[in-house]
């Protein structure tokens, strides 16, 4: 049986936020009497993650997904509740815990700006107590997986964003962590760089059985990497389960564009009891429930003269978008 590697119970986090009115009066008032209020950004959440799982955290901006990741990796202190990651309380930041995890934040870098990435890799290797031989071996292996070579010897400031992100990944993985926290890892990358990064993460997960917790606003990252998603809305978990199940629930119907051989056939189809979305000459778009799609298509193909048909999946961003803006979504 696969063990839980992350166990979160009744976790909450509050921040003290100060507010200031505009203008000189507001500034003077703020200087002498600062008004602060406590804002609860994470509200009593519970979940577990199993070893080797890739879990996507979805949520609108400010929903709290990054705060959850920061608490899981021990960067910030929880206000209430408990977190166990690999058997450790993350915030204590014990050496063995820190050697087991990594955090990668898109657009935030740990590489030394004026030096080639290789220098940062060896520095990180020393921090994680790797000897030079082992470090060299891992750098070689990871650079092959990430397809970087000459870039290792060029100052970081002269690298492109994609090359820099690959180098960041190498720096963050040199100690071979078995839990990866990735906060928007593909932010700002072009389509090819995004795809390569996803391929690399899949391969890393497959080869090392590492657990990956990921936040991303690019749905392609989520759909290609994560079987399971946790949707966060205003600090609460609104959905925790399989991604395909979520998509089925959120989008129970598919749209099918049917091109009939003649306009008469299109009219016959329009009047045959299917839910019609629109019709133009011999083209007709109907809506069919997911669970009856095979039987409905069989009926259509047997009874009508069809030239072509297209099954349109609703855009995933649109579907997921529904759950991100509504708290009490009816699952």
């Amino acid at each position: 049986m696969v063990q839980n590697i992350i166990d979160v119970r009744n976790l909450s986090k509050s921040f003290d936020i100060s507010s200031k009115e505009p203008g000189l009066k507001g500034t003077i008032k703020h200087f002498f009497k600062r008004q602060t209020k406590s804002l609860k950004v994470i509200k009593d959440i519970n979940f577990e993650i199993k070893e080797g799982e890739i879990v996507g955290f979805l949520g609108a901006n400010g929903a709290g997904k990054t705060t959850i990741l920061k608490m899981l990796c021990g960067l910030i202190y929880p206000s209430e509740g408990s977190i166990l990651v690999s058997g450790y309380l993350p915030f204590r930041r014990k050496e063995n815990f820190l050697k087991n995890i990594t955090l990668i934040m898109g657009q935030k870098q740990q590489l030394i700006w004026d030096l080639p990435p290789i220098e940062s890799f060896y520095l990180n290797a020393s921090i994680y107590d790797l000897d030079k031989f082992e470090a060299k071996k891992r750098i070689k292996k990871l650079s092959e997986m990430l397809e970087i070579d000459e870039e290792l010897f060029i100052p970081v400031r002269k690298l492109s964003l994609g090359q820099r992100m690959k180098s960041e990944l190498l720096a963050a993985l040199i100690h071979e962590p078995n839990i990866l926290f990735l906060d928007e890892p593909t932010l700002g990358l072009d389509i090819n760089a995004q795809r390569n990064l996803r391929k690399f993460l899949q391969k890393y997960n497959r080869e090392t059985n590492a657990t990956i917790c990921l936040t991303s606003h690019y749905m392609k990252d989520i759909t290609s990497l994560c079987k399971r998603v946790i949707c966060v809305h205003e600090g609460e978990i609104s959905y925790d389960g399989k991604l395909d199940l979520l998509l089925k629930k959120l989008s129970p119907v598919k749209e099918i564009l049917i091109v009939c051989r003649s306009e008469e056939d299109a009219i016959k189809l329009e009047n045959s009891g299917f839910t019609v979305k629109n019709k133009m000459k011999n083209e007709i778009t109907i809506k069919i429930e997911n669970n009856s799609i095979t039987s409905s298509l069989k009926t259509i193909l047997n009874n009508f003269d069809i030239e072509d048909l297209f099954i349109n999946e609703p855009p995933i961003d649109e579907v997921i978008g529904k759950v991100l803006i509504k708290k009490d979504y009816d699952f």
């Binding site: 960067l75 910030i76 202190y77 930041r93 955090l103 935030k108 740990q110 990180n124 921090i127 994680y128």
Partner: protein, 244 residues
């Protein structure tokens, strides 16, 4: 590379306050009031320059910027306190400054040939130790102030409050011996005279209590280190990882 070389040279030149002070002191014959010869005063300010070059600390500014920009976050989840990075940066920069400091000393001796002296090996070694301890004290003081970033976000403003006593009481502007006796007795209870005055007097060959000075430096380090650890531990609980 040229810009880096120029930057390093400017760092070294930026520490020449002691030479200005030497000029003020000798032109106004102020040294007569404290019974220090011109030669010894020249050596004192040259040594103050050297001690300053190898003990100057700016960790509060680096940490404040990194903290506000979210750059501290990746370092916090590594099994090494981020302050070790700043510590290593300071040491590396001190090594880089060394040749430039020697060049400045060379020119100083050209204009003040009577000040040339060779300290004996024992004194030289003790001076190096003392300068390093001075650096440690300053590093710890600034690191403690830097940790206030977790509460105030603008710890460098607090550091500026410390700049005034450091300037006046450390021996950078005037040897501490020039202060009235009752003020001196109080100054020696603070860490400031052990930052510049003590190591500079030691290296220049002025009369000084070597064991007392070194003991006070070690004592301040022993007091400041647990304070730093405590404030770091409490501060990281307050960390919100802003900017990331």
């Amino acid at each position: 590379m040229l810009e880096y070389r120029v930057e390093i040279a400017l760092w070294a030149i930026s520490g020449i306050i002691p030479f200005f002070m030497l000029n003020i002191w000798t032109n106004n014959n102020l040294n007569e009031s404290i019974n220090i010869s011109d030669v010894m005063l020249s050596r004192y300010f040259l040594c103050a320059f050297f001690v300053r070059q190898f003990s100057v600390v700016w960790v509060v500014f680096s940490f404040e910027e990194d903290s506000l920009m979210g750059k501290v976050s990746p370092y916090l989840i590594q099994p090494l306190n981020p302050f070790f990075r700043y510590f290593a940066q300071h040491l590396a920069e001190q090594i880089t400054r060394f040749p430039f400091a020697l060049i400045i000393a060379f020119f100083f001796f050209i204009f003040n040939p009577e000040s040339i002296w060779i300290p004996n090996l024992g004194i030289l070694l003790l001076s190096i130790v003392s300068t390093f301890l001075s650096f440690l004290i300053q590093f710890l003081i600034q690191s403690i102030v830097a940790c206030l970033c977790f509460w105030t976000e603008k710890a460098s403003s607090i550091e500026r409050l410390l700049f005034i006593p450091t300037l006046f009481l450390s021996g950078l502007l005037a040897p501490v011996v020039s202060f009235p006796a009752y003020v001196k007795s109080w100054i020696y209870l603070t860490p400031f005279p052990y930052l510049i005055d003590f190591p500079a007097n030691l290296l220049s060959g002025n009369e000084t209590n070597i064991s007392g000075g070194l003991s006070m430096q070690i004592l301040w380090i022993l007091l400041l280190f647990p304070l730093f650890k405590k404030i770091w531990f409490e501060g990281t609980k307050k960390y919100t990882a802003m900017g990331s």
